[in-house]
């Protein structure tokens, strides 16, 4: 073989050396069009045997220097490659045909790829171009509204903020519902760290036949990502730059200073049981205040965002490469917040011999975020977003000495909260993360039908999060004269994966078979170290000099998990019409209990390409009709390591005890967990029926899927009886169900000079908790003091995930209901609640804890997205609508904002009076009136008195997520500067939202520790609307 190579080399050398003798160089020009005579830009034109080449321009034209007898190779994704030998002519006109239709497009599937026509499972593809549209350059955010059955929720709008992705609803209560992310075959990466420009394709696997091959990690769906490699031909260099300004989408409606102070007076005036009380403000003061401080303006600002992207990709027949770098710098709309991310990537693949191919991808992401903690991470008294709309407008940001105003303690307003501007500005945070992902592969064609591929991937993520509250913040107030309070959290995650696949494929007669067998192993190690320090001698050095802190608590931990798997897949197609797929995977995981270390996950699917049958084949209007059915079992191994083992652990507050007497405490270590050797994975069984249709030569496509999912053996903390000495044990009890329908329709109503592509998807998912292992209800979420919402979220068998429980608020008692109100001991102007039942189930004339019932649910009835892309000559326009219907939000912030004497909401101006009865804000009824009425109170709501439907709001919304208008510079200009293309664009994100929700954003969730807690709004970072301009150039 070596000799053969040598011969070829000599021949080539001779060709090059003697080229001038062989033929004359001349300039060849040409034009490439498609079957409809539309010019095709971007077609690669390669001079065979060299790496010289070019691309067709916007008009489909190209120019290249070559000789007669040379062969030009024309290639373009989706079209059949053509070889054209140069003859006597110097011009070439070429028509390129589609590669046997879109259906032969190759789609990623688990551990491989398949032709789209052979797919038996339910898979959604997202175009890589769609990922580049958002100025935040976030792959996860870009998936919103793009794929049926995929729900992406921006739980907060902070720079570098979080999304929650759910594929076909939520299965698990304790095991986590995150989809598995697979990047170039390596499992476990993070979508938010990817540079969207690096992505070649992204596929979302939804049903069991697609995900069962991931075994005990596949139950929540899989997102497959593959990154780019260059194409054969001239290297393509691209650069893009984008600059935008972000601002808050809406502000809450608050009272101005005069309105606020007079409302406070009115509220305090009601405390007249012992005579008229002292009012905080005189009439003169009230009149003089005027508009006052706009606290929302004080903490929110317009913030810039910009990013740069640069990439080089190219290759020869044997080596392909792609290098890229991207940088994003985003300031946040809340003061003192910022996020920076830099990505590097180097992808190379090479055919080192005729049968062996190797590749190596290196990716590094470094991000630094500085976002003041909000939501469940911070004490609400120091949470700027939560507190700012509560401070009265009469208070200035700074007092007369230039210090931050402290809220006066005069019996009104949020006097225990901290100055919101101080909370934002004086907190310093830095969340640093360095994520390195390396993967390499070797692919060997052993003999003609047998190939072997080994992949090795390694991911190391280093995280360092610091937060420091200095002496001017609430959390950092001096204790014993020493201010400051902070923490440093360090962690390192190391993951490595090795997958080895052996594939046999063959075609004979009408049969096409592919069989894959594989062995895979994964190891993940995590260590962390957390230091909390306070009482610093020098506030300025703070976390950089921990020796200066008087009080330090140090904790650390480590964990490891191992997965070993064997799996196989059979793909069989008969006559290209009847297709069968079967997979089986065996997973052995270290987190499963001793008796259940191995789990087995089979799946099978059938597809029938009805349109290939003789009776439909010749149809002119129906291009594709494929019926699919699949069944399979996947698992969720979302158990933290060591859960199945008995454990002894420390907890200073709970177990330490002054055993010696004296002044100190002795360390206490208690048995905290019992062994559960039977602990196993959660099992999801899914049945999916689907129809793929396309009409008019694929000008109109539609996919409909119906699925049924049952998840059993749910991990729950089963409460143990008292004599065991333990409180609970993690066990597999409980089950949930998800059923739904997904419809997506896409098409190209217009092609040609004016083209319009549109894609619409809508998904319904019905989710219910079937069984909680003997418990009737499980309570979720702690409470935040001061809101009177001691318990809100429960899981209950028979109800949907995460239902809210409380009192049903029926409105305000009106004047002509005086006598009915009196039966409950209430006056007109008081809140009216539904008397659901007493202890024996019938309404009993009392409102107490037996009247608590379901008052709302955060999950939507359906979600949808609609994308449109127009093109006319040099102008392109695209826009994406995205929405959700039937979801609700518990607007917890309103509880304090609408509280008399406490809140600043303008709705307090609309409070009930006999003249203004059509409102849901209760009246300010003074104590003397109430005493004189001499009623017996029958309303005793307990510690959750504000868990009422008054604060449950419909948060259905329709949002214009993004609109972009671009202009492609004409060729005459680009050619002058030797550019392939130059495009400028202007785009707007989160342009407008149609919703009835009264908070900042209907897409909000403050508590995300568990999916059951979703949908509560308590001071989360609102999303911003952004207007940006940019340019893209490629050469």
């Amino acid at each position: 073989m070596k000799m053969n190579y040598f011969k070829i080399l000599i021949a080539l050398l001779l060709v090059f050396c003697f080229q001038p003798i062989l033929g004359q160089q001349k300039t060849i020009t040409g034009k490439v069009t498609d079957a409809n005579n539309t010019p095709i830009p971007g077609v690669n034109v390669l001079l065979q045997g060299t790496n010289q080449g070019t691309q067709t321009d916007f008009d489909g034209e190209f120019t290249i220097v070559a000789n007669s007898g040379d062969v030009l190779i024309f290639s373009y994704l989706g079209l059949s490659a053509e070889n054209v030998t140069i003859g006597m002519d110097s011009t070439i006109s070429l028509v390129m045909e589609e590669e046997a239709g879109l259906l032969d497009e190759v789609i990623l599937v688990g551990y491989g790829s398949q032709k789209k026509s052979d797919i038996t499972g339910s898979i959604s593809s997202v175009k890589s171009a769609d990922l580049l549209v958002l100025p935040t350059q976030r792959v996860d955010q870009s998936l919103q509204g793009r794929a049926a059955g995929v729900s992406v929720l921006n739980t907060d709008g902070a720079p570098g903020g979080n999304t929650r992705i759910r594929i076909r609803g939520m299965n698990s209560i304790l095991g986590g519902n995150e989809a598995l992310i697979v990047i170039d075959g390596v499992q476990g990466g993070k979508l938010e760290n990817l540079n969207p420009d690096d992505i070649e394709s992204i596929e979302i696997l939804k049903d069991a036949s697609a995900t069962a091959i991931y075994g005990s990690k596949g139950a929540n769906g899989v997102v497959l990502v593959s990154t780019k490699l260059g194409n054969t031909g001239k290297p393509i260099v691209t650069y893009s730059y984008n600059y935008g300004l972000q601002s808050i989408t809406r502000e809450l409606d608050l009272m101005n200073a005069t309105e606020y102070t007079s409302t406070v007076n009115a509220a305090i005036a009601t405390n007249n049981q012992n005579g008229p009380p002292n009012l905080p403000f005189t009439d003169a003061e009230i009149a003089s205040f005027g508009e006052g401080t706009n606290w929302q303006d004080a903490i929110f600002e317009t913030a810039p965002i910009q990013n740069h992207q640069f990439s080089v990709g190219g290759g020869t027949e044997n080596v392909k490469y792609f290098f890229s770098t991207g940088f994003i710098d985003q300031d946040g709309i809340l003061l003192n917040t910022n996020f920076k991310r830099i990505n590097f990537r180097s992808n190379i693949s090479a055919n080192i011999s005729k049968r062996i191919k190797v590749g190596l991808n290196l990716a590094m992401v470094e991000s630094k975020g500085s976002v003041t903690p909000f939501g469940e991470d911070v004490t609400f008294l120091g949470n700027s977003i939560l507190v700012a709309p509560r401070w009265g407008a009469h208070l200035p940001v700074y007092d007369e000495n230039g210090n931050y105003t402290k809220h006066p303690v005069e019996g009104y307003g949020p006097q225990d909260t901290w100055n919101p501007v101080a909370s934002a500005l004086e907190t310093s945070t830095e969340n640093f993360s360095l994520d390195n992902l390396i993967n390499g592969f070797v692919d060997i064609q052993i003999i003609d039908n047998l190939s072997f591929k080994a992949t090795v991937g390694r991911n190391v993520v280093e995280t360092n999060n610091r937060v420091y509250y200095n002496g001017l913040t609430m959390q950092g107030l001096p204790v014993n004269g020493k201010p400051g309070n902070g923490s440093i959290f360090d962690s390192r995650l190391e993951f490595w994966q090795n997958s080895n696949l052996l594939t046999y494929s063959n075609e004979f007669e009408k049969h096409r078979v592919e069989v894959t067998g594989a062995f895979e192993q994964q190891v993940q190690n995590t260590i962390f170290n957390n230091i909390e320090a306070s009482q610093f001698t020098v506030d300025a050095t703070a976390l950089d000099d921990l020796a200066g802190a008087d009080f330090i608590i140090n904790t650390s931990g480590a964990s490891k998990r191992v997965l070993k798997s064997y799996f196989g897949r059979l793909n069989y197609a008969f006559d290209d019409k009847y297709i069968l797929t079967a997979t089986i995977r065996a997973d052995g995981s270290s987190v499963f209990g001793e008796n259940n270390k191995w789990g087995y996950f089979p799946s099978t699917a059938l597809a029938w390409r009805v349109s290939e049958e003789n009776f439909l084949k010749e149809s002119s209007w129906l291009s594709t009709l494929k019926l699919r059915a699949s069944w399979g079992i996947t698992g969720n191994q979302g158990i933290p390591p060591f859960t199945s083992l008995a454990s002894v652990s420390s907890d200073p507050g709970r177990y330490n005890y002054p055993f010696d007497g004296g002044d100190g405490v002795n360390l206490g270590l208690a048995i905290t967990g019992a062994a559960n050797p039977d602990l196993k994975w959660e099992t999801t069984e899914q049945l999916n029926f689907g129809v793929d249709l396309s009409f008019f030569n694929s000008r109109l496509n539609s996919t409909v899927d119906i699925y049924y999912k049952d998840t059993d053996d749910l991990l729950l903390n089963r409460i143990l009886p008292g004599y065991t000495g333990l409180s609970s044990i993690t066990d597999n009890v409980g089950s949930t169900e998800n059923n739904g329908v997904e419809i997506s329709i896409s098409g190209d109503p217009f092609v040609g000079k004016f083209s319009w592509n549109t894609a619409f998807n809508v998904s319904w998912n019905n989710n219910s908790v079937v069984d909680l292992g003997g418990d009737e209800r499980i309570q979720f979420g702690g409470s935040l003091g001061g809101y009177g919402v001691n318990s809100l979220t429960f899981l209950e068998a028979g109800e949907s995930f995460g239902s809210w429980y409380g009192y049903e608020f029926l409105g305000i008692w009106s004047e002509n209901e005086r006598s009915q109100a009196a039966e409950f001991g209430q006056l007109p102007g008081d809140q009216k609640f539904k008397d659901v039942s007493g202890p024996d189930g019938i309404p009993d004339g009392r409102i107490d804890t037996s009247d608590i019932a379901v008052i709302g649910n955060a999950l939507p009835d359906f979600i949808y997205g609609w994308n449109n892309a127009f093109k006319f000559n040099n102008i392109d326009l695209s826009f994406l609508f995205q929405g959700s219907h039937g979801n609700e939000v518990f607007n917890q912030g309103r509880i304090r904002m609408e509280a008399p004497g406490d809140g600043a909401s303008s709705r307090l101006l609309d409070r009930w009076t006999p003249e203004n009865q059509d409102t849901d804000i209760p009246a300010f009824i003074d104590a003397r009136t109430r005493l004189d009425a001499n009623l017996t109170n029958m309303v005793s709501l307990g510690s959750s008195q504000n868990a009422t439907s008054r604060f449950v709001e419909d948060a259905s919304y329709l949002r214009l997520k993004n609109i972009m208008l671009g202009f492609n510079f004409p060729d005459e200009l680009t050619k002058k500067f030797k550019l392939n293309s130059l495009r400028t664009f202007i785009s707007a994100t989160n342009v407008f939202t149609i919703t009835d929700y009264t908070g900042y954003d209907p897409e909000v969730s403050s508590f995300n520790g568990n999916d059951a807690q979703v949908g509560v709004d308590l001071g989360n970072y609102p999303i911003a609307k952004t207007i940006s301009i940019g340019l893209q150039v490629s050469f």
């Binding site: 003999i447 090795n498 454990s647 004296g662 065991t724």
Partner: protein, 488 residues
């Protein structure tokens, strides 16, 4: 050529397979490093002590179990010293106490198991002392359980872990057998004193508890009267021991003072300090002094208590206002006196204003030793002896400030056995008030319906036991419920 081609291929394949096998070296067993497994713990004295510390924390913590137990109405419903009494006992009455005791026992048994299996390293003498402390604590936990619930499942270091091994309830006498054998062993292994560690369990603490156990066994429900002699003997040993550091504080006002937290009168207590605080003392006081009135006493108690220095030391009956005027308890909002033992002057005003307390809660005090002796001696001899009279009179004299007090006379030999017994119980009521003992005295003397007529209406014989927790009954069919309470 062909031969070469195939050979090369084969070699490649073999190499790769080899490499794959080499790379698969991880196994699926978990070996955690960041926490400990009970099977490889309890190997040093220090480790054993952490378990015992945790076991105490399981029953004594700021707001749980015996902490705030008076507030949670564990005993308030029946104790005639307390306000808000009625004998309607809900099915979840003792759930927290049951669970807290078994959590403590789980950890204590783990230590004893490790010692029994010879996994503990250390000098034999040190190990013995650890065994002594562990068995004392195990005995205490079961003593509380058996008095509250009756016979209970008996988990010791010889059982498999309770999670996978449900047991039926043992009989009351079986539980007491374990308690007494544990205490007898503890007594022999514990030191008389711990230099530098005043809070540790001592030899005579074990003896005191043993005497208390014997006297309880001699009374209801076991009524094993042969134990009166045992109680008398053990108590006498403590009283006569030359090396015992325990005795009465001369001045009754000094008993609960901060500096006497580990003084001669305090034999064993639930311990708290500034780093592990006790329940806020404000639970004991009336609103008029900034308290919350959670555990206010009652007028009946105050009225039955003759005036004496001890009454003033232990009971708050009036407040001195800022202007110097006196506000008697009848004019407080709660209209009931308050227990003074855990408030000022025994704690600082700073603790009171910060809603914390650093004080201990005494479980075993020296006066009880004297009173156990007196009660037992009276019962053994079917009438008081000189020794019995002297023992109880020490307590009375100290209560009277070592002076004659016609309102509260000393006890004489002329009393009958019954009169003397009543006098002992009465003395226990006043001396040991608000230290959990009154409730258990009412139980063991079967006088729940006698002491305060107000609660006779809801009384039934079933009220002498708490209900077994519903969840435990549901999960373990071997357990049976106490009479008069619902089963799940």
């Amino acid at each position: 050529m062909k031969k070469n081609k195939y050979a090369l291929q084969r070699i490649k394949v073999v190499c790769l397979c080899f490499a794959s096998v080499l790379l698969s070296c991880e196994n699926l067993e978990e070996n955690p490093t960041s926490f400990i497994s009970p099977n490889n713990f309890y190997q040093t004295i220090g480790q054993g002590e952490t378990a015992l510390a945790a076991s105490l924390s399981a029953i004594w913590n700021e707001w749980s179990n015996y902490g705030y137990s008076y507030g949670y109405q564990f005993f308030k419903h029946a104790d005639d010293q307390m306000n808000y009494r009625d004998l309607i006992i809900p099915a979840d009455k003792g759930d927290y106490l049951w669970r807290g005791h078994y959590t403590a026992l789980l950890n204590i048994n783990a230590v004893l198991k490790s010692i029994r299996e010879n996994r503990m390293e250390g000098e034999q003498e040190e190990i013995d002392i650890l065994v002594g402390q562990a068995k004392f604590l195990r005995a205490y936990n079961y003593f509380m359980l058996v008095r509250l619930f009756g016979g209970v499942p008996l988990y010791t270091d010889e059982n498999e872990d309770p999670t996978s091994n449900p047991l039926a309830r043992s009989s009351i006498s079986e539980v007491y057998d374990l308690i007494t054998s544990d205490l007898i062993e503890a007594q022999s292994k514990l030191p008389v004193q711990w230099p530098d560690k005043p809070g540790r369990i001592t030899k005579y603490a074990a003896s005191t508890l043993l005497a208390k156990v014997y006297i309880t066994m001699a009374t209801a429900p076991l009524n094993a009267t042969e134990n009166y002699a045992n109680a008398r003997d053990v108590a006498l040993t403590i009283i006569n021991a030359g090396d015992s550091p325990y005795g009465l504080q001369e001045n009754v006002h000094d008993v609960f003072k901060k500096e006497n937290k580990f003084g001669k009168e305090m034999i064993w207590s639930f311990q708290s300090n500034s780093e592990d605080v006790q329940t806020s003392a404000n639970i004991w006081g009336p609103g008029e002094m900034g308290g919350w009135s959670d555990c206010i006493s009652n007028a009946f108690f105050e009225e039955s208590w003759p005036e004496q220095p001890r009454k003033e030391a232990y009971l708050l009956t009036e407040l001195v206002l800022d202007d110097g005027s006196i506000l008697p308890y009848q004019e407080w909002g709660a209209q009931s006196p308050a227990c003074k033992k855990y408030m000022m002057p025994y704690i600082t005003i700073e603790e009171w204003n910060s809603y914390v307390s650093y004080a201990n809660f005494p479980i075993l005090r020296y006066p009880e030793v004297l009173l156990i002796f007196a009660e037992a001696e009276n019962m053994v001899n079917n009438g008081p002896t000189q020794a019995a009279v002297e023992a109880i009179n020490q307590v009375i004299d100290r209560a009277n400030g070592w002076e004659e007090n016609p309102n509260y006379p000393r006890v004489t030999l002329a009393m009958s056995a019954e009169e003397f017994d009543d006098a002992v119980i009465r003395e226990r009521n006043f001396e040991l008030c608000f230290e959990f003992d009154r409730y258990f005295d009412l139980i063991r003397k079967r006088i729940l319906d006698v002491v305060n007529p107000e609660t006779i209406e809801n009384f039934s014989e079933d009220d002498y036991l708490f209900p077994i927790p519903q969840l435990d009954l549901a999960e373990n069919p071997l357990l049976t419920q106490n009479p008069g309470y619902p089963s799940p």
